[in-house]
C-alpha cells in the first residue's frame, strides 16, 4: 500500500492513516460503527450525524467516537 499520500488523524486516541478527502462518513463506515448508537466529536466539536458525508477529514484531525456503556 502506498502510504506517501496518506494523512495522519487520531481516532479515539489512536493514530490512523487515511487518504486525503476521506469523509467522516467513510471513516465511520470503515470502522463499522452503528450510526444510531454513537456520537461523534471532531476536534472537540460535536458533529451532527446527518452531516458526516459532507465533512472531509484533514491532517491531524482528532475524532472521538463514543457510545453508552454500563455505569452507575
Amino acid at each position: 500500500m502506498n502510504f506517501k499520500n496518506k494523512i495522519k488523524i487520531t481516532v479515539n486516541g489512536k493514530q490512523m492513516q487515511i487518504f486525503p478527502k476521506y469523509s467522516l462518513k467513510s471513516l465511520i463506515t470503515k470502522l463499522n460503527m452503528p450510526i444510531n448508537k454513537i456520537a461523534i466529536e471532531l476536534n472537540k466539536k460535536i458533529i451532527d450525524k446527518k452531516r458526516i458525508s459532507k465533512i472531509q477529514l484533514k491532517k491531524d484531525d482528532k475524532v472521538e467516537i463514543v457510545h453508552f456503556i454500563g455505569g452507575g
Partner: protein, 257 residues
C-alpha cells in the same frame, strides 16, 4: 392509601427503583437483573468506542432504550466542562435530555464536588437538559440545586459503591421536608433494608448499582431491592406508630384468668 405518581421532569415512571448498569459480569446478567428489578430507568455512561474490536457487544444490543429509559451519567467527570461535554455527546447519541449529573471532587472517596456540580446544573438547565443531580446530603446545597433548576435531588447515602447504607438520616429527612422535587438516594446502599430505610424516610426513589451488580446473586438481589423499595414506600405511606420507650401490651388484660 393511593400513592402519588413517581414523576421526574414531567415524565411518569412506574418503578421507584433506578438501577445502574455498571460492574456486572456480562451484559446478559445486567439485562436479566434489570428485568427482575422492575426498574424502568437505568443509568448509563458515555465512553469511547473500542475501534480495534468492531464486533464487541454493546449495551444497547442488550438493553433496548425504546423499552427502558436510559439516564446518561457523567461518571468520571471532575469539572463542569467535562460533565457538559459528556452530556452533550449523550444527547447526540439519541436525543436524551433527562440526565444524571455527577461531578466528583476526590478520586478516593468519590464525594461530589458541589461547587462544580452547582455550576453544571445551572449551565445544563439553561441548555434544556433536565438534570437529576448526585449531591452531598447537605440541605443548603440541595436548596441551591433546586433553585438552579434541578429536576431531582439525589443525595448520597454513603460513598459510591461503599455499601454502608444511609449515614445521615437526619439530613435526608431535612432535605425531604424542604423540597417537593423527587428525592432519590443515589449512592452507598448495600442491602435491601437500606433501600427500605430510604423509602421510609420519605424518599421518592433509590438508585442502586453496586449493591445489586456485585452481590453474590445479582438477580436475586435485584428482586430483593424491588420488594424492599415497594415495602419501604408502603410503610412510609401507612404512617408508622410513634416510637415509645415503654411497652404497650398487644393483648388486653380484660378476662384474664
Amino acid at each position: 392509601m393511593v400513592d402519588k405518581k413517581f414523576k421526574i421532569g414531567n415524565k411518569i415512571f412506574n418503578s421507584r427503583l433506578i438501577v445502574g448498569t455498571g460492574k456486572y459480569k456480562s451484559f446478559s446478567e445486567c439485562a436479566k437483573a434489570i428485568k427482575t428489578s422492575g426498574a424502568d430507568i437505568v443509568t448509563v455512561a458515555v465512553r469511547r468506542v473500542n475501534i480495534s474490536d468492531k464486533n464487541k457487544a454493546r449495551l444497547m444490543d442488550y438493553i433496548d432504550p425504546k423499552k427502558i429509559t436510559y439516564l446518561p451519567n457523567t461518571a468520571g467527570c471532575f469539572t463542569a466542562e467535562d460533565a457538559i461535554r459528556t452530556l452533550r455527546l449523550a444527547r447526540e447519541i439519541g436525543g436524551w435530555r433527562l440526565v444524571k449529573l455527577e461531578v466528583l471532587g476526590d478520586k478516593r472517596n468519590l464525594f461530589p464536588e458541589m461547587i462544580e456540580t452547582l455550576r453544571s446544573t445551572e449551565l445544563l438547565t439553561k441548555e434544556g437538559f433536565k438534570v437529576m443531580v448526585y449531591c452531598n446530603d447537605d440541605p443548603l446545597m440541595a436548596k441551591r440545586l433546586e433553585n438552579a433548576g434541578a429536576v431531582a435531588i439525589m443525595p448520597l447515602a454513603a460513598p459510591i459503591g461503599s455499601g454502608l447504607g444511609i449515614q445521615n438520616k437526619v439530613n435526608i429527612k431535612i432535605i425531604r421536608q424542604q423540597t417537593k422535587l423527587p428525592l432519590i438516594i443515589d449512592a452507598g446502599l448495600g442491602q435491601a433494608s437500606d433501600a427500605t430505610i430510604a423509602m421510609e424516610l420519605g424518599c421518592d426513589g433509590v438508585l442502586i448499582n453496586t449493591a445489586i451488580a456485585k452481590a453474590k446473586n445479582p438477580i436475586q438481589m435485584a428482586e430483593a431491592m424491588k420488594l424492599a423499595v415497594i415495602s419501604g414506600r408502603k410503610s412510609f405511606l401507612s404512617g408508622r406508630i410513634s416510637p415509645n420507650l415503654l411497652g404497650s401490651a398487644s393483648t388486653t388484660n380484660r378476662g384474664i384468668i
